[in-house]
Structures are given as C-alpha cells and as structure tokens.
C-alpha cells in the first residue's frame, strides 16, 4: 500500500467514523460515552490523510524541481522550519512502507497487512451490522448482578423501568420494591431451545464485544407469535417465579405480562446503566 492509498484509506475510515458518530449508528457498537472520542479520532484521521496528501503533493513538486536542476540546492526553503535542507535528491525517503511494486519483500508484507483496514470500513459503511440480538443472548449466560440498593420507584402506572433494573429488583430484592406496581419495560425477544420466551437487554460497558445479556422470563398473557429479535414493550407485574440460565446457571426472574406491543429498536439498543 503506497502513501496515497494509505491517505485514501485513512480518509475513508475517518469519514466513516464521523458518519457513525454523527448519526446514531455508533450506538450499535460502542457506549454512548465514546462519541466525543470517535468524533476526535475521525477528525484526526481525516487531518492525517489530508496532511499526507499535501506532503505527497509537495514531494512530487520538489522532485520535479530537484531532478530538473540536479543539485537542487535551496528548493526546500519553503519548508519554513529551518530543518529542510532542500536536498532535491532526498526524494526517495519514506519509501519504506512500500510502493506496492512487490520488489521489497519486507516492505511489501508490511503494507499488505494494512489492506485489512478496508474490511471494517466496508462492514461499517455497506453492511452496518445490527446491534447484538437473540443469537448472542441465547449463547451467553445472563449477567444479572446484585444491585447496590433499590431506589424508590418513580410515580406512574404502569411505571417505566429499565429491564436490568426490574431484573435486579425482582430477583435480588424479591420484588419487594415492586409490590402492587405495574411496570413497563422494553427489550428484545429471545426464545430458548426449550421454548421459554425471554425478554432481553444487552448490557454494555465499553463496546459490543463485552456486551452481556440480562434476561427475564415472560409468563402470563404473552403474544401468540414471538419473533426472535423483535423489540417489545411489555407491561406486567412481578411474579415470584424464577429460573436459572442453562448457559451459566445465572438468575432469571420472571414477569407476568398483561400487555405487549411491538416497538421499533430504541435509539440505544444497549443498557448502559453499569457505566455510571
């Protein structure tokens, strides 16, 4: 990969990062808090690409002049920082990353690995894979952990509450903080091989690679047809029924559903409450 190509790839990746961070696309892959970093990194990559292109252009100009005069003295005065000797014959510097002509085994091998950078670029721009769904949820054990405490539920009937929050209150708090209340939560559907329908939210700490599901079992008035990965907003009440996740023996509380309706994928498909 020669320098111009590197500049082009960096520019494309930088623009893709900016695009991902400016739309809500990045929320499928990383936590919300990384957005400023993504914007800064995208800008940095674009600037690097532009700087590379600019120096390439200057190098080409210098070469033209340098090979023309042969001695080339003084052609570097435009550098402005005093380090440039304006040696017109120095044009070959920096070829170490390879010009892609395959004559230098080492440089060529180095440059070949850089080609891999186009893979995430295509994946991000052309495919934009969805946030982790029921496949990961059924193949990973629930990550429900004991909460620090149970804050007073806000007013409202039914009260909107996070799925992870409900799971913690229901399992570790034995539903005491949920007594007499109807709750409304959002998650996607995952169905185990044994047929139990789960409502799942992936909890994320940094990026999707560390996302872990928190699952609750659905019982009561559940819709007759449950499509895996479909997002549902369910209303229901605490039930003492509970089970263990066959994958990791983790705790899974249940919810007695009174109503369920399909909803579009939320803006941030992951639960990020653990980041705070």
């Amino acid at each position: 990969m020669n320098r111009q190509t590197q500049a082009a790839v960096l520019l494309l990746i930088g623009v893709a990062l900016l695009h991902g961070a400016l739309s809500d696309l990045y929320l499928r892959y990383v936590k919300e808090g990384l957005r400023p970093l993504l914007l800064a990194a995208g800008t940095l990559l674009v600037v690097t690409a532009l700087a590379t292109a600019w120096y390439e252009w200057r190098r080409a100009r210098r070469e033209e002049r340098g090979t023309g005069t042969g001695t080339g003295t003084g052609t570097g005065t435009g550098d402005g920082d005093g380090t440039g000797d304006g040696d017109g014959t120095g044009d070959g510097d920096g070829d170490g990353t390879g010009d892609g002509d395959g004559t230098r085994g080492h440089a060529h091998r180095e440059s070949r690995v850089s080609w891999l950078l186009v893979l995430p670029l295509f994946a991000l721009v052309l495919v934009a894979p969805p946030a982790l769904g029921s496949y990961s949820a059924t193949h990973t054990g629930t990550a429900l952990q004991q909460p620090y405490g149970y804050a007073e539920l806000p007013a409202g009937d039914p009260v909107p509450i996070g799925l992870v929050d409900y799971a913690g209150r229901a399992f570790y708090g034995h539903g005491r903080s949920l007594e007499g209340r109807s709750v409304r939560l959002t998650g996607f559907v995952a169905v185990t091989p044994s047929g139990t329908p789960y409502l799942v939210r992936m909890a994320l700490n940094c990026c999707a690679a560390d996302a872990q599901p928190v699952k609750i079992g659905l019982t009561g008035n559940i819709p007759p047809v449950l499509q895996p990965n479909a997002w549902l907003e369910v209303t229901g009440r605490y039930t003492a029924r509970r089970t263990r996740d066959p994958v990791n023996d983790g705790p899974i509380p249940f919810l007695r559903v009174t109503a369920a309706r399909p909803v579009p994928t939320p803006r941030d498909p992951y639960d990020e409450t653990w980041n705070n």
Partner: protein, 342 residues
C-alpha cells in the same frame, strides 16, 4: 543495555531513491492506488450478495463484535499514534536519558510506574512503547511501560473499583500484580533478551525534510500499520467469541487450578479492552477472586489483538518469545498476589 540497531529496512529503499523514473508515471503498472480504486466500485456493486451472505445470525454477531472492537479501539490507536509521533519527532532523546535512571535495573520500575500516566487501553501503549524504543529508551524499560500502562492507569483502576464494589482489594491487587509482572518482564528482558530479537521500529522512514512531514508521516504509518494488525486481532477474537460455547466455563470454575488457567486463556482469547474487562469478569462469580484477578492481569498484557500489534511493531520473532513469557509471568504474578491479598 545498549542496543545496536539492526539494519532497518528503511535505508535500502532510500538508496533506491534517486533511481530515475522509478516513480515516474510512464508505463502502466498495477499499484495500490489503482487496486483501491478498483476495489471500491466492485464492493459497492456487489453489496447485495455480500449482505445476503452475511445475513445468518452467527455471521451477524461476528460482524457486530468485529466492527465494535475496531470502532472502539481505533480512537485509542489513533491517539496512541499521535502521542508516539510527538515523542518520536518533538521530544529529544536526551529528555529520556535525563528522565530515566541510567541503570536499567532502576529504569524498569520507574518506567513501569510511569505507565500510570497514559490513560487509555492497550491499543495506545503499543505505538507509544515503539516510539520510546526508537527514542533511545532502553527496551527493558519500554517493555515494562508497555505492559503496565494499560493496566494501572487511573481510568482502568476506577473501572475495576466500580465493577467490584464488594471487593475493593481487587483494585490494589490488580495494580500491584500488574506492576510486579511488568517489572519482572523488564528485568528478565534485561538479563535474557537479545537485541536481535527486537526488530526496532523503523524511524528512518520518517526522515522527511521537515518536522511536520515527519510527524504526520509517523502518525499515518503507525495508524495504518498497527490498524492492520488490530483488524487481524479483532477478527480472531470475534471468531473465538462467537464460536466458543460459554457453558464449558462453568465446569472449569470448580477446580482452583483449572479456573485460573481457564480465565487466563479466556483473557487472551476475548481481547477485551482493559477499560471494560473488569465488568465482564465481575459477572463470572463462580470463579474465585484469584482466577478473576488473573484475567485482569493477563488481558491488558497479552491477548490476540495485542499479539498481532506487537508482532507488527516489534517483529514476529519478538512477539513469539515475548507473548508466552508474558503469559507465564502474568499468571504466576497474579496467583502470587491473589494468594497474599485476596
């Protein structure tokens, strides 16, 4: 330890520089710009079939994990490259000669503790350590920095404290074990390491006529180069994460020795960023605290992604020796610390 620079690949192409007409555009030859220009429309045209081929649930979660790893790591990598370029271009070698003790045995722990000031994950520390070696820092100290920086900086330690609210000693144990292992690796390199194993970063190729050109050349090279290896590591880690069944973990948790080794291997395989690994391992409650500490110590020091990046920066010969040694030291160090502290 003085290190004689092995002939870097840089000078060879430089001597070719004046060859007339090699870079001239006469004649049509296949170069990478052309390849990229041709690749782009082909992929855009073929995106329908590509998408269909990737529509299975396994492939989708593979891609999501893969893209997530790269997107999450790229900012840290890019800023690591920026910092390493600043070190390589603007900080004179004399600064490090003054800042670090002259005796390598002392420079190692100083560099190890200095790792605490680089707030980021392991992707940033690889290019920075490369720049340090290029700037004349003795490799033993630079390697101690490389190993300690991703594990003992305040961001990572805070995350660990949040993930283990009931075991605050985990934070101390992680700090001490990581520092211990980093120093042990540095001292071992000082005693046993051979200069030839380390293919030094090639600063010669950034000897452009102006500082700006060298600076941006270094940023570009480090990002593109380490980025390629990052992609390689992310692909391997995504494959293993998607393919490996999670249920076998449970059976390993019961055996103390097996538990430690399992989580150590898992840390290598999963290649989770050091800022997030504590949250993942905190939920593995069937495992002992020592086993989970091993995960936290091994992960930032050596994993698939890091191995690929180290191989890219310091050479494959280096990585093949350094990685197993780091793994062994990290496991031993965390078991020791875990036995004493936890």
């Amino acid at each position: 330890m003085a290190i004689s620079k092995p002939a870097p690949p840089g000078p060879a192409p430089r001597s070719r520089g004046p060859q007339p007409g090699r870079r001239g555009q006469e004649g049509w030859h296949f170069n990478s710009s052309l390849a990229l220009t041709m690749l782009l429309p082909v992929v855009v045209v073929a995106q329908g079939p590509i998408r269909r081929a990737l529509a299975t649930p396994v492939m989708q979660s593979w891609m999501t994990v893969f893209v997530a790893m790269v997107v999450q790591a790229l900012p840290f990598l890019a800023f690591g490259a920026l910092l390493s370029a600043a070190i390589a271009v603007f900080v004179p070698p004399s600064f490090f000669a003054r800042a670090l003790p002259a005796r390598t045995a002392l420079a190692v722990p100083v560099a190890g503790v200095a790792g605490a000031v680089l707030p980021g994950c392991e992707c940033a520390s690889v290019p920075v350590a490369g720049a340090l070696v290029g700037r004349g820092v003795t490799p033993a100290a630079a390697l101690a920095f490389l190993l300690s920086a991703p594990a003992i900086n305040p961001v990572v330690l805070t995350a660990t404290a949040v993930a283990f609210p009931h075991d605050p000693r985990m934070v101390l144990a992680r700090f001490l074990a990581s520092l211990l292992v980093a120093c042990a690796m540095g001292w071992s390199w000082q005693r046993l390491g051979r200069p030839g194993w380390l293919r030094l970063p090639t600063p010669t190729e950034h000897t452009g006529p102006s500082r700006g050109e060298r600076f941006w050349g270094s940023v570009r090279h480090d990002t593109v180069h380490a980025g390629g290896f990052l992609v390689l590591g992310a692909m391997a880690a995504a494959t293993l994460k998607t393919a490996a069944p999670a249920s076998w973990l449970l059976t390993a948790a019961g055996e103390p020795v097996l538990a430690v080794l399992t989580l150590a291997v898992l840390a290598v395989v999963l290649s989770i960023c050091s800022e997030a690994d504590a949250f993942v391992v905190a939920s593995l409650t069937p495992f002992s605290l020592t086993a989970r500490l091993t995960f936290l110590v091994v992960g930032p020091m050596i994993d698939l992604k890091l191995f690929a990046m180290q191989a890219g920066t310091f050479g494959r010969g280096f990585a093949l020796r350094f990685a197993p040694a780091t793994f062994a030291f990290a496991v031993a160090g965390s078991v020791l610390t875990g036995t004493v502290l936890l």
